[in-house]
């Protein structure tokens, strides 16, 4: 007999005894209804015309009549529905766990007792917390341990801890702290001298000064830009099957630059969603609209172009909702959202904002440069025309000359000329004609002058970069609701509009367009954007957001662990004029952030997921940063910012995995050693060394990366040629920079990889490995075989080989690829 059955019998037997106790509607019934029924039967949704959020509504009922008949539970539809005995009506709650018998019995008793309820009962607003605007003022809580506080953030965190009788962790040691804040703000480890300077800076604001330096670093834009590019699903190819390369890196550079300049987040948003529609839009503002051009393009034969245009708009709608609103609206593409108050019609109203643009490529050049280019083109055309006329006038002469050629003379001609001669005279293009004239009229000064002029003009032709942008159409497309999400089945036409549950568009926004949408997203009245953005920033620092489901602030998401803190941060963000740097400063200077990340066994049961943040979290670095850190340790890293994507070495055969085999010509010089954010990304054949560390696939918006821990990661760090090159680089660097002794070299190796010195037992273990390696090489050629080609002349090969092994070990350590 199971437990539930036991209870049922118990209740059934005892009901008569309890029968006299009056059921309290407010305390006993309402919680059942609100927990189970309100989702579909209250203010926001009234399935089947039924509301159950007041007893009066229940009495009134819906399309099937009253839900309750006071005094007669057997006749009440509500009881039949939850028991699954109603005719023509599914068991309620629909497709969810049935009510247990205890609850049903309680409902029955309440009805049998007359279904009494307070006369003044009013429907509560059941607005989900995330749709309620932040309170104008969020009081900062008071705490006991005031000495711990650095920023108001700490009050919120400590207040919760004090309530749970938990004390915070001590501050992390200085070395851990500088490495942490370097990795978090710039994605690069500190150099040894930076570590030393910080450790030795005894001034009270040493840490704050460090933070300022890092916020001013150009690498800040790379680090935080990469998070943003994940959401933008940025990549360097078109995706789907053919996956041709595309040029949109100017957009990537725009993001990096905007963050470095601390462009306010509202402007950052507006320029990306609708920069092209701003009055007198600048080149940079147009480049910013690349955000929504990062959708894939299907170049497969036989496709319906409209279908894939629609697909890309759907992706844009979903990406916008995920990125700014933290909502999953995708469900509403086919039907009203099951859980969140978003209707299918509203989905297509949102769609209508984004359904009205051309998708051109923009030549990235200043107006003056473009004017020059146009003038030059005219000049080239004119010269070409002249030459064409001249060549045509000599057609007969050329034909005569060609006829006069003896086989011996032909044999002496260059192959390019003979090829032209094989082409019939009337089929020859200008280049071919000129090639012949170069031979026939080589002593004609007029010809030669014009010819030289053309060549020099063509050399001047500028090679402008292009980038993919949005451009609003003059005449809007008509948007329809797609029945069941099928673009071939048009429902009613819809106009651009925003979900009713959120703040309305300004009253004067008739014929609202993409620019209105952009402004609406960052309207301080919007209850979601600031919260969602701050929650994600928080997540980057603590591994989990205040709202764990950072991409679902809807009713199915998890609630915030510190709701007041989230509201306070959102308010502060707007108050700081949407400055992201201000918010970063606030977080990284907090005592909360500075805590040690050491596990605390005494909290393992009280707070197993560290939701109260009584310590920092320790987590693996992102894919690009894993590589960046190793590059930095090896001394090979190029710190160049921006520019076209680069092609570091990748294993053979990687480019064969997709339909098209694209070329991968390994970059030379410093481009071989650029940061991972600049690695060329083919969607169908992405770089394996990034993918293995959870790089997103760049096919849809990714706002939070997974952190897996797999044998393939181990194989990559151990055996990949690229990483081996870094190990040899590190070994060479150690030998060159630390000629003194093995002990000092070991210390330096730890400092370069982990920013800290080795503990004595670590030192011993590595020294033992070194000795083992040095002993085991029987010959120089054996030692040489492990090294890559670049061995400096005069290097001690056995030493270098042994140190390369030591370097491999250090570059493979968990700590090296972890931020503690």
């Amino acid at each position: 007999m199971n437990f539930r059955a036991t209870i049922f019998i118990f209740c059934a037997l005892t009901t008569p005894v309890w029968g006299g106790d009056a059921v309290d509607y407010t305390k006993e019934i309402k919680p059942i209804l609100s927990g189970i029924c309100y989702q579909c039967h209250s203010e926001t949704q009234q399935k089947h015309g039924l509301r159950l959020d007041t007893a009066a509504y229940a009495l009134k009922g819906g399309q099937s009549g009253p839900a309750i008949v006071p005094g007669k539970s057997d006749e009440s539809l509500l009881i039949k529905a939850v028991s699954g005995t109603a005719k023509d009506l599914a068991r309620m709650p629909f497709k969810k766990t049935p009510l247990d018998d205890e609850k049903i019995t309680l409902l029955k008793r309440w009805i049998d007792q007359g279904a009494k309820s307070p006369a003044d009962e009013k429907a509560e607003s059941v607005l989900h917390w995330a749709f309620v605007p932040c309170p104008a003022v969020v009081p900062v809580p008071d705490v006991k341990q005031k000495s711990w506080l650095h920023t108001p953030i700490d009050n919120f965190i400590l207040a919760r801890m004090e309530k749970a009788n938990i004390t915070p962790s001590p501050e992390a040691d200085r070395i851990t702290l500088i490495r942490r804040v370097f990795l978090d703000l710039t994605g690069l480890p500190p150099t040894i001298s930076e570590v030393d300077a910080f450790v030795n800076d005894k001034s009270g604001d040493a840490y704050e000064k460090l933070v300022e330096r890092l916020l001013a670093s150009q690498h800040y834009g790379e680090r935080w830009g990469r998070h943003w590019l994940d959401a933008a699903r940025y990549a360097d190819s078109n995706g789907y099957s053919i996956d041709s390369p595309r040029q949109i890196w100017k957009y990537r550079d725009w993001v990096i630059d905007a963050l470095n300049r601390d462009m306010p987040f509202d402007q950052f948003t507006i320029e990306q969603i609708a920069g092209d529609m701003l009055p007198h839009a600048t080149l940079s503002q147009k480049v910013a609209t690349g955000f929504h051009r990062n959708t894939q393009i299907n170049q497969e034969g036989g496709i319906d172009k409209e279908q894939f245009r629609v697909e890309s708009i759907i992706d844009r709608v979903n990406t916008t909702a995920t990125t700014w609103l933290g909502l999953t609206v995708g469900c509403a593409q086919c039907h009203d959202h099951k859980f969140d108050p978003i209707t299918q019609k509203e989905y297509y109203q949102f769609f209508a904002f984004l359904n009205n643009q051309e998708e051109p490529e923009l030549t990235v050049a200043a107006p003056l440069e473009l004017a020059n280019q146009a003038a030059l083109k005219k000049q080239i055309d004119r010269t070409e025309n002249d030459l064409k006329k001249y060549a045509n006038s000599l057609t007969n002469e050329i034909v005569t000359w060609q006829k006069s050629l003896t086989p011996e003379q032909v044999a002496k001609l260059k192959t390019e000329i003979t090829t032209v001669l094989e082409t019939p005279p009337d089929k020859r293009n200008l280049t071919q004609k000129l090639a012949l004239l170069d031979v026939v009229r080589h002593d004609d000064p007029t010809y030669k002058n014009r010819r030289a002029m053309l060549t020099s003009l063509e050399k001047k032709r500028p090679n402008f970069v292009t980038t993919m942008v949005m451009e609003e159409r003059k005449k809007p497309r008509e948007t329809f609701l797609f029945i069941k999400g099928d673009f071939t089945r048009h429902g009613d036409p819809v106009k651009p509009g925003v979900p009713k549950i959120l703040q309305p568009l300004p009253a004067n926004a008739t014929n609202a367009n993409r620019l209105d949408l952009a402004r609406w997203l960052v309207d301080p009245e919007n209850p979601l954007t600031a919260r969602v953005t701050m929650n994600r920033i928080w997540m980057r620092y603590f591994a989990s957001g205040i709202v764990e489901t950072e991409n679902d602030f809807g009713t199915q998401g998890s609630g915030p662990t510190h709701p007041e803190l989230l509201d306070w941060l959102a308010n502060e963000f707007v108050k700081q004029k949407w400055s992201q740097k201000a918010m970063h400063r606030l977080i990284v200077t907090s005592a909360t952030y500075r805590q040690s990340s050491r596990a605390r066994p005494e909290l393992a049961n009280i707070d197993p997921y560290n939701k109260l943040l009584a310590r920092q979290n320790r987590f693996r670095l992102d894919a690009e940063i894993v590589r960046d850190v190793e590059l930095a340790a090896s001394g090979l890293l190029s710190r160049k910012i921006g520019g076209p994507s680069v092609f570091p070495p990748i294993p053979d055969g990687v480019m064969n995995l997709g339909q098209s085999k694209h070329e991968w010509k390994v970059s030379e010089g410093e481009d071989r050693y650029r940061r991972g954010i600049y690695t060329f990304f083919y969607r169908a054949t992405p770089p394996p060394e990034l993918m293995v560390f959870d790089e997103p696939e760049s096919t849809s918006a990714c706002t939070r990366r997974m952190r897996s821990n797999t044998p393939l990661q181990s194989l990559t760090l151990l055996n990949d040629d690229g990483f081996l090159e870094f190990a040899q680089g590190l070994a060479l660097r150690l030998m060159k920079e630390v000629p003194q002794s093995d002990d000092q070299r070991i210390t330096r190796a730890f400092q370069l990889c982990l920013s800290r010195e080795p503990k004595p037992d670590e030192h011993t273990r590595v020294k033992e490995l070194l000795a083992q390696q040095l002993q085991s090489y029987s010959s120089e050629s054996e030692a040489k075989s492990i090294l890559q080609k670049k061995i400096p002349a005069g290097a001690d090969v056995k030493q270098l080989a042994a140190w390369t092994t030591v370097s491999r070990v250090l570059l493979n350590l968990d700590e090296t690829i972890t931020r503690e």
């Binding site: 099957s241 996956d243 299907n298 036989g302 809807g554 997709g658 969607r683 897996s708 181990s714 350590l813």
Partner: protein
């Protein structure tokens, strides 16, 4: 966040062990102990055990299983069922006639923009068909070997999908969705029941043919599931798994010494920080090391008899679909859970290299013998009942021809043929009938979602219960659809 996927053993007090044993012995060299430990797997530190963790640790499904593993022969490009399995004498009779409008009404096709200029005409099959085996299934002359296994398989003529372009259709067949970012079937399966193999990946992908499948990596992606579950491509040439071999010049001994040192230093950090994720990393390095010796053994076919190689039609030293079929069997034998083979290019539009004549004959030859050999070989080794073998493309081809240089057919989503064999599948049946032109199923339509539901069912996974919560919603391979194809189940 990925922690709860790992089968770790928190009861073990590794820290104490380590403090006592490891750093005390450091001076005399731990390498020896560690090397010994490799031989007895996880037995380190003076006889005390450290429990390794494995995210793909095998686990029971949520319902009784009928089979354990899958080999999925993915015929990339969409094979013409009308020239292989779905015999339509009426289609031959109406050859050259325009297809009645009633068939096309409301339907969409690839290259539909050409229909106005060249109204599609019915195209009979040139191929001779005959009834084969006890079941009397029709098989075309192009599949003489497959014809010999019809009594071991279920031929399903009534498969249907939703999308008619290659990349989206492949995505749909693999992930149950045309939206990107969803996990593939192999990822769902290894997430659901893990993998028996400790030394090889649980989900392996093998490619053959002139090019990779359209869409590439998204076809075996883990989507929102942890990347531990993503498919690992086994390479046709060179090292079988990327970065599997030691770096050039690094002996096995030296590699072991390297990994030992990494492990010792990682252990120390584990003790200091108390971060269990380091234990997972230590385990990952050990599995990587084991993989380094298991994977070369896997692809070394020298232990296979000549008879076996001949059965598959393997030519020595040549990457091919045949070799991949044998590798699939070897992977299953070694505990891998989900092996997916892609063979290109079945896209028989009628263009150069893509016709239903010589090109089609060539590709049918490339897969016929080895597909049949795989079923026979598994059967004779007693592995077939533990293995579900699936053969099919992302869609089929139209009963209408296309106007190109040579004979060809367009993409068709309404009906196409797949076959299923082995664990839990009824042997020797033909399921699902199509109309007289082979355009639509007239009974037992088996939609992609139904196929997915049935595959999961056979593996002991009830498709409505195999879920992963992402963005506030419980996602499934079958989305909100999927009915079991009961007639397919033995």
């Amino acid at each position: 966040m990925s922690k709860h996927f790992f089968n770790s053993d928190p009861g073990l007090d590794l820290r104490e062990t380590t403090r006592r044993q490891f750093f005390g012995k450091c001076a005399m060299g731990l390498g020896g102990i560690a090397l010994a430990s490799m031989l007895s797997e996880q037995n380190m530190f003076g006889g005390e055990t450290i429990k390794l963790v494995n995210p793909l640790h095998p686990k029971p499904g949520n319902s009784p299983a009928k089979t354990k593993n899958i080999i999925y022969l993915f015929m990339a490009g969409g094979p013409s069922q009308l020239d292989l399995f779905d015999y339509k004498p009426k289609l031959n009779e109406y050859n050259g006639q325009p297809i009645p409008d009633s068939y096309l009404k409301g339907k969409r096709f690839a290259f539909m923009d050409t229909f106005a200029k060249n109204p599609p005409k019915l195209l009979g099959s040139k191929r001779k068909f005959s009834r084969r085996g006890q079941s009397g299934a029709w098989v075309s002359e192009l599949f003489p070997h497959t014809a010999t296994i019809v009594d071991d398989i279920s031929l399903v003529h009534s498969c249907a999908t939703d999308v008619f372009n290659h990349a989206p259709a492949k995505l749909f067949m693999n992930t149950g969705s045309v939206q990107f970012g969803r996990p593939s079937m192999g990822a769902w399966v290894t997430y659901g029941i893990g993998s028996e193999s400790k030394n090889l990946p649980g989900f392996v992908v093998l490619l053959s043919g002139p090019r990779g499948p359209r869409g590439g990596a998204v076809n075996w992606a883990s989507g929102f599931l942890p990347t531990s579950y993503q498919g690992v491509p086994l390479r046709g040439q060179g090292e079988p798994i990327l970065n599997l071999s030691n770096p050039q010049g690094v002996s096995d001994k030296r590699q072991r010494q390297t990994i030992d040192a990494i492990r010792d230093l990682n252990l120390k950090r584990l003790v200091e920080t108390g971060d269990e994720e380091i234990r997972t990393r230590i385990s990952a390095y050990e599995m990587a090391y084991r993989m380094q010796s298991s994977a070369p053994e896997l692809i070394d076919l020298s232990s296979e008899t000549k008879a076996t190689k001949d059965l598959y039609g393997i030519k020595e030293g040549e990457p091919s679909f045949a070799r991949n079929c044998l590798l699939a069997r070897r992977l299953i034998e070694r505990g891998s859970r989900f092996v997916q083979l892609y063979h290109t290019n079945w896209d028989s539009h009628g263009g150069p290299g893509e016709d239903l004549e010589k090109s089609f004959e060539k590709i049918t030859r490339e897969v016929d013998q080895s597909s049949a050999a795989l079923v026979k070989d598994l059967k004779q080794r007693g592995l077939l009942e533990d293995t579900l073998v699936i053969w099919g493309g992302e869609f089929g081809r139209t009963p209408m021809g296309e106007v190109r240089e040579q004979t060809g057919r367009n993409h068709h989503i309404d009906s196409f043929t797949m076959w299923f064999a082995g664990g839990g599948v009824k042997a020797g049946q033909v399921l699902g009938q199509t109309d007289e032109l082979g355009f639509s199923p007239v009974e037992d339509r088996c939609h992609v979602h139904d196929i997915h539901a049935t595959i999961l069912h056979l593996l002991g996974l009830e498709h409505t219960k195999l879920t992963f919560r992402f963005q506030g919603r419980d996602f499934r391979l079958t989305d909100v659809h999927g009915e079991l194809i009961t007639k397919l189940i033995a």
